[in-house]
């Protein structure tokens, strides 16, 4: 298949050899599971259990709220011991609403949803199942998958792209999943294609995963399904960026401020496809995921099937702890991952890696002034001038930064990776984006207040007018009555005369 070139991008050292040959292993049951209610983009889930409840594996713990949200299920059987705020797996270290449960170690399933036959089920029923099983984008973006499977109603879709690029260094969880559970993954992909009603499926895998490529190519051949093509894409970061992947595969550039669905293409992560398989074929909600544990500060690296809610420290100690004090502890890959503020935080639906990087693995360069070498301009996959945006942000010219494309930035980190001056470019951009959002929110609030007060004024005016009108009417009536009375009296007088 023809591959299209994207501009920009970088070739960071993969470091995948640290874990790529380690088969997926289960992890012993932790003594406690802490399940955040916000494991997805959108509104947090609303708990429907109470402290002290005994729950079964797969039982619904919290329901989705609003159009973009996802429910949360019990990863095992046990007792709910707390519902409250607990440190979230987020760089800020701020607490989030969390259900804490103590496993009873019997791992008993509750009532499972009946299996659906994708051949006969309605596309909308498939999407609904995916939604009710709490499936979100497992590449890290955690967008509720059912919403994306329902795009058919508003967009003319023709292609499903499966994002199996896994372009972040170190991460191998998707690679292992494709190699070890090939048929199930492939089945999940075909179910998604059915739900979307697309005629074509492209499975994109970076060239550095030859076994996964061979496995899925074999699966496609075995089913004889001509509508599915497995495509080897160049090993180049950020190949896993949705729009760039679509362009590599189809040559189509998604317009700014638009979705790939606007050009007829929906992108789903390959691990999401596996979760879809489980939801549809087995009626199992999303209660575990594959996580890569890696980095040279880890005693043992590998790929693990981890229950959602497992404390990070449990996973680390299962891997033998650290060789040395890690210079960086990350959730996700080294390009876009987040520092772990507390290992008491949990593995959630979007956690694809836990990395303990040794001193030798992390950049040590001191930040120097920008020398305008434009390496960042060359590396940027979005056609931006990162050094210029950073300069404007430094000068507090947020509008200027927006004008030259700040909001088109993916925060992929390619610019900072190449910067010889070690300028923390992504931090500048994230700071500015955050500030803009806050300003926008404040502006929105201000406008809302203004609107409400105007509304109140209007209402008062109306009330006053109505009162006046009523008064006038009353006066007029009284006048008329008086007149009538007078007339009557006159009439009577006439009569009596």
């Amino acid at each position: 298949m023809k591959i299209f070139r994207i501009s920009g991008g970088i070739h960071p050292k993969g470091n995948k050899e640290l874990s790529a040959e380690k088969a997926i292993e289960p992890v012993p049951m932790p003594s406690v599971l802490r399940i955040p209610l916000q494991q997805h983009i959108g509104a947090p889930a609303v708990p429907i259990v109470a402290k002290g409840d005994v729950v079964k594996k797969g039982q619904l713990l919290a329901i989705a709220r609003g159009a973009v949200s996802a429910p949360v299920h019990a990863p095992t059987s046990g007792r709910i011991v707390a519902i409250g705020r607990f440190v979230a797996p987020h760089a800020s270290g701020l607490p989030g609403a969390t259900i804490t449960m103590r496993p009873d170690r019997r791992d008993e399933w509750g009532e499972r949803l009946p299996a659906l036959d994708p051949a006969t089920a309605e596309p909308s029923a498939l999407a609904e199942r995916v939604g009710s099983c709490g499936i979100v984008g497992m590449g890290g973006a955690t967008f509720p998958s059912a919403v994306k499977l329902n795009l058919r109603s508003r967009h003319a879709l023709h292609t499903l792209v499966i994002n199996a690029a896994e372009c972040e260094p170190y991460l191998t969880c998707d690679d292992r999943l494709m190699r070890e559970r090939t048929d199930d993954v492939f089945d999940g992909i075909r179910i998604m294609a059915k739900a979307l009603g697309v005629a074509k499926v492209l499975i994109a895998i970076e060239g550095n995963k030859p076994e996964a490529l061979a496995a899925l190519t074999g699966a496609a051949r075995a089913t004889g399904d001509k509508s599915v093509a497995v495509v080897k894409v160049p090993t180049r970061y950020p190949m896993g960026s949705e729009k760039h992947l679509v362009q590599t595969l189809t040559g189509l550039e998604t317009p700014a401020r638009a979705l790939t669905a606007d050009i007829g293409i929906v992108v789903h992560n390959v691990a999401t496809a596996y979760a879809v398989y489980k939801a549809v074929r087995l009626g199992e909600p999303l209660i575990s995921r594959i996580v890569t544990v890696s980095g040279k500060a880890m005693v043992r690296t590998g790929n693990f099937e981890v229950l959602i809610g497992t404390p990070i420290h449990h996973l680390i100690s299962h891997c033998g702890g650290h060789v040395e004090e890690p210079a960086r502890l990350l959730l996700g890959g080294p390009m876009m991952g987040q520092p772990i503020s507390s290992t008491r935080a949990s593995i959630v639906k979007g956690s694809n890696g836990v990395l303990a990087l040794a001193e030798s693995e992390v950049p040590s360069g001191k930040t120097m002034p920008c020398i305008r070498c434009t390496a960042c301009v060359v590396a940027c996959p979005c056609g931006l001038a990162p050094f210029d945006m950073a300069q404007r942000i430094r000068n507090d010219e947020l509008d200027g930064a927006v004008k030259i494309g700040l909001l088109d930035c993916l925060s992929c980190g390619s610019c900072a990776w190449v910067c010889p001056s070690h300028v923390p470019l992504v931090q500048y951009f994230n700071y500015a984006k955050g500030k803009l959002t806050a300003e926008q929110r404040a502006k929105h609030k201000q406008e809302e207040t203004k609107r409400l007060s105007q509304f109140r004024d209007m209402r008062m005016d109306k009330l006053k007018k109505a009162k006046q009108e009523a008064m006038a009417k009353m006066m007029a009536e009284r006048e008329a009555k008086k007149k009538a009375e007078l007339a009557e009296a006159a009439d009577e007088a006439k009569v009596t005369e």
Binding site: P369, L384, I393, N430
Partner: protein
Amino acid sequence: MSMATPLGGPFTHSGASISRTMTLVMAALLPATIFGLYQFGWPAIFLFLVTVVSAVLAEFLALRMAGKPVMPFISDGSAMLTGWLIAMSLPPWAPWWVGVLGSFIAILLAKHPFDGIGQNLFNPAMVARTVLLISFPVEMTRFVAPMPLGSADAPGFISALEITFGLGSHFDAMSSASFLGSVKTQLGQAERLPDILASGYHPFALAFGTVSGSTGETSALFLLAGGLFLLATRIISWHIPIAMIITMVALSGIFHFIDPNHFLGPVMELSSGTFIFATFFIATDYVTAPSTPLGKLIFGAGVAALTFLIRTFAAYPEGVAFSILLMNATVPIIDHTIRPRIYGRTRKGVPIQHKPK
């Protein structure tokens, strides 16, 4: 702005650094430098050392005056490279104070008043060369014919000290004009080009560099080799060099074709003077060049066109330094006008439209 947010990604890095870049540029300069120092002997070596050391000294003084941390900046290699580039562009037997003055002008006048590395509008080495040329036209145009180290005419260590640090009393006897200088003079005397060139100028000598000229710019071939090394290591991009070379070849080609008696051909223009040196080592200076590929093409074409115009029609035999400074001044405009195309948008910045299928 404050950076109070927790340290963000990426948590891996390419390993690039300013000092690595500077080191690679100096490595690329090495063949031409060694050749130049060999050709012009001990006085050139002394001048080179004086210029480089004084550039680093000037940087130290500037950093102290500005209250900036000295170590990280002085060890980035940028001041050393500036001194090196100035030494390359000086007449090899110029007295020591010319080198010192050049370095001080570059660092204290062209670099630090703009707030140091990355901020200067004009290329420091070219500012130094231009100021020196205008202020000390005699010292800056007194060239010597090559006398390789160890050859019979070459000055020894002691007499070289006298040349560089003394009063230069026995200098005049050996002075000679540069190629472009003598061509300009002779053309001015209404001679025809073929006759001038027949009197002993060979394209090969010009390209290899066995002619009189500044220390580091006579050997077009060694400079080209260094330039290709910089392209191969991706320290520089091809845009500026290609634009410069094509423009120079096109302009000089046209004029030479029309009147070969008065206009040097492309080969002569490229291989003489400081053109190749400037193409790979000066015009490509990050700080003072445009930031987009298209901008770089415009910049390179502008430098070459101005160089050709000055060399051909103005009073000065060489025009590269002036051209670069003039084009440096246009960089903010070029960068303001020519921006990279943002993904999903047209060059004008509006979202692209897909034709409905």
